[in-house]
């Protein structure tokens, strides 16, 4: 089989850069990593075939510096660029610049990105394609007063979103009128700071919904398919932390309806490559509304890869090289069950990021398990980027087996030196609302306010106290030992001196 490309530059970092390096290596394609000052010791630099420095630590000056990245791509002789997710993955300027430089951009067309980049116009497009959408401000909201009046029209709760936002940034839910103003301002400021665009819009906030998304794929020959759903309702700070496939709440007929709608959406813009249509899902009525389309690979793509049995990154590469999709709709079936847990360097109680140096690190292994991680012992998690350091994905014949397996995997995951949310995941997996699949996007907010006791029930204190006490004892003792060494060194040196004289 002839290689689709000779050399691919990966304009990203961390686990997704490594994920793409692996696909390249399996296809005999040379992989080129790029890194910022903070990332010289990042694992993606170690694992790539080639690696080039692109600038200072802040994203703006490195991973978002598309000119520099393009320059490196040319120097290295890459014939394609994979943007991963985040950073430049949905940046039209970059996509265009690649094409102009004769370098293949592994992702959707610039037109695709534009069509879906703006949440407001994309919503109108979807209405046109016959995809159900949510009531709200059909456009940007320029003043607090306007925001208030819309809120009164469609009724609380509402959600305010930065037009250019994403990944939980520039997004606030408002449940009381007096919270509206500060939320409105916060969204505008985050929109300005992270996406250089303060415009925000408002939507009816479907109360206690689920987040269900459909994976779609298109090629350059007008073929479009869906790879069924993922449920991503377990969120904290509006960021997904556990995803599963299939969803325990979507009846099969609804599943097929959602898939068909997603394919209509993709066809509407003649979408190329991997994309995801996110839906708000009302678990009582089983109604679903278009939320947004992510014109890129998703963090949680592995659970679809496992349940459907395809390598989505390789497929992206093939499609970008012009090949037709390697699968037709009728070839795609869900088999078994997969769950992903996002392991983040953060305090499991406050959700505050906890960057720092990793000490011991042993990843889970064994049957029914996939780990995509860039953690290693001695690695310092930098403060500049996303706190997610690893993804643990388990799969089994049944949902129950996949969950039990995840519990097993997390129990054997040794990661010390920094705080992580591993213990939070374990608590969630044991929660009746997760076990019975009835959980919604407000699951954590509602059930984990006083989480500490849950988190720490597993082991009682004496074991911890004894360990701390023995360590404190040794530390104290070692001080004396150091004293000793100095003296004995002094003696030795003393002798040396005598010999010399």
């Amino acid at each position: 089989m002839q290689k689709p490309f000779n050399k691919i530059l990966i304009a990203n970092r961390g686990e997704i850069a490594i994920r793409i390096i692996r696909a390249c290596r399996e296809l005999g394609i040379i992989s080129v990593a790029v890194f910022s000052d903070a990332d010289r010791d990042s694992l993606h630099v170690f694992l790539a075939d080639e690696a080039y420095h692109i600038g200072p630590s802040p994203s703006k000056e490195s991973y978002l510096n598309y000119r520099k990245i393009l320059e490196v791509a040319k120097t290295a002789g890459a014939d394609a660029v994979h943007p991963g997710y985040g950073f430049l993955s949905e940046n039209t300027t970059f996509a265009k610049a690649c094409v102009d430089a004769g370098i293949n951009f592994i992702g959707p067309t610039p037109e695709n990105i534009d069509a879906m980049g703006d949440k407001i116009s994309s919503k109108l497009l979807m209405k046109k394609a016959g995809v159900p959408t949510v009531p709200g401000s059909d456009g940007g909201v320029e003043t607090v007063e306007e925001a208030l009046s819309i809120a009164e029209r469609i009724g609380l709760p509402i959600i305010i979103k930065a037009t250019a936002g994403g990944g939980g940034k520039g997004m606030r839910v408002v449940r009381k009128m007096d919270e509206l103003e500060s939320a409105y301002r916060a969204c505008r400021s985050e929109g300005q700071n992270y996406f250089a665009n303060p415009t925000v819009y408002i939507e009816k906030f479907v109360n206690d919904p689920k987040h269900i998304e459909i994976q779609v794929f298109g090629d350059k020959h007008h073929n479009h398919v869906h790879l069924f759903e993922r449920e991503c309702s377990v969120q904290r700070r509006n960021q997904k932390i556990i995803e599963e496939c299939p969803s325990p709440s979507v009846p099969n007929e609804v599943r097929l309806k959602m898939g068909a709608a997603a394919v209509r959406a993709a066809k509407q813009i003649n979408y190329v490559g991997a994309g995801t249509i996110e839906f708000i899902f009302d678990n009582k009525t089983k109604e679903f509304y278009f939320m947004e389309m992510n014109t890129r690979l998703q963090v949680e793509h592995p659970i679809t890869e496992i349940v459907c049995g395809f390598d989505l990154v390789k497929e992206q590469i093939f499609v970008a090289s012009g090949r037709p999709l390697s699968f037709k709709q009728e070839d795609i079936h869900q088999k078994g069950h997969a769950i992903e847990a996002r392991i983040c360097a953060e305090d499991p109680v406050t959700y505050k990021p906890s960057p720092g140096v990793i000490r011991a690190c042993r990843h889970p292994q064994g049957p029914g398990l996939r780990v995509d991680s860039y953690a290693y012992p001695g690695y310092e998690v930098p403060i500049f980027y996303d706190p997610m350091i690893a993804k643990v994905i388990t799969f089994g014949e049944t949902r129950e087996e996949a969950i039990d397996r995840m519990q097993r995997a997390l129990t054997e995951f040794v990661l010390t030196g920094i705080k992580t949310n591993i213990v939070l995941h374990k608590t969630i997996l044991d929660h009746p609302k997760f076990r019975d699949g009835s959980y919604t996007t407000q699951f954590i907010e509602k059930n984990f306010e006083v989480i500490e006791p849950l988190l720490f029930k597993e082991i009682d204190d004496p074991m911890f106290l004894i360990a701390a006490a023995i360590t404190a004892y040794n530390d104290r003792k070692s001080k004396d030992v150091r004293q000793l060494n100095i003296t004995s060194n002094w003696k030795r040196t003393g002798r040396k001196l005598q010999l010399r004289t």
Partner: protein, 176 residues
């Protein structure tokens, strides 16, 4: 060696004796009786990266991080932060006033970051759970709130400042 320890707000007296082949550790939680543990050194074994601790028939893979007065013990994806004081330190402590080890007369940075916005000024009284400032770290804006009703004694940072872990950002007056 005698220590006093605090874990999750509960205080313990701790005594550690090292034998050739075993540790003797005794614990007394405030108001309770002493419990004595004999730990064979082969059951508390340093294995390169971790400590393998065979305790009461269970196998724990643990890691202990910290020094001086604070240790964090990791085990089975769970962890405890334990304050521990030896005789010397206890002396110092007794000199300091303030409600025990846990006392909190200031707002410290929990991680390195950048000050985005400050909501209070010197002299202000801020009610418990009301915002004091917003700090950015790892691309998230983290709102820091007052843990109790506080009167601002001094603000040591300004908007745009970068702060390191542990840096004192705001000092409060003594609780009234």
């Amino acid at each position: 060696m005698y220590f006093e320890a605090e874990i999750k707000g509960r205080k313990y007296k701790v005594d550690v004796t090292e034998g050739r082949a075993a540790w003797k550790v005794s614990l007394q939680e405030e108001g309770k009786d002493w419990t004595h543990y004999d730990i064979s050194k082969n059951d508390y074994k340093f294995a390169e990266e971790y400590v393998s601790f065979l305790f009461e028939g269970k196998s724990y893979l643990i890691d202990v991080i910290g020094q001086d007065t604070e240790y964090t013990v990791f085990a089975r994806n769970s962890f405890r932060t334990i304050k521990i004081f030896n005789d010397e330190m206890l002396l110092h402590e007794s000199l300091k006033k303030g409600s025990g080890f846990g006392g909190d007369e200031e707002l410290k940075a929990g991680m390195p970051g950048k000050i985005i916005e400050i909501f209070a000024k010197k002299g202000d009284i801020v009610k418990a759970n009301k915002p004091l400032l917003i700090m950015e770290a790892m691309k998230m804006e983290n709102e820091m709130r007052a843990s109790r009703d506080v009167k601002i004694k001094e603000i040591l940072v300004k908007q745009g400042d970068s702060v390191e872990t542990g840096a004192v950002m705001i000092k409060f007056e003594e609780p009234v």
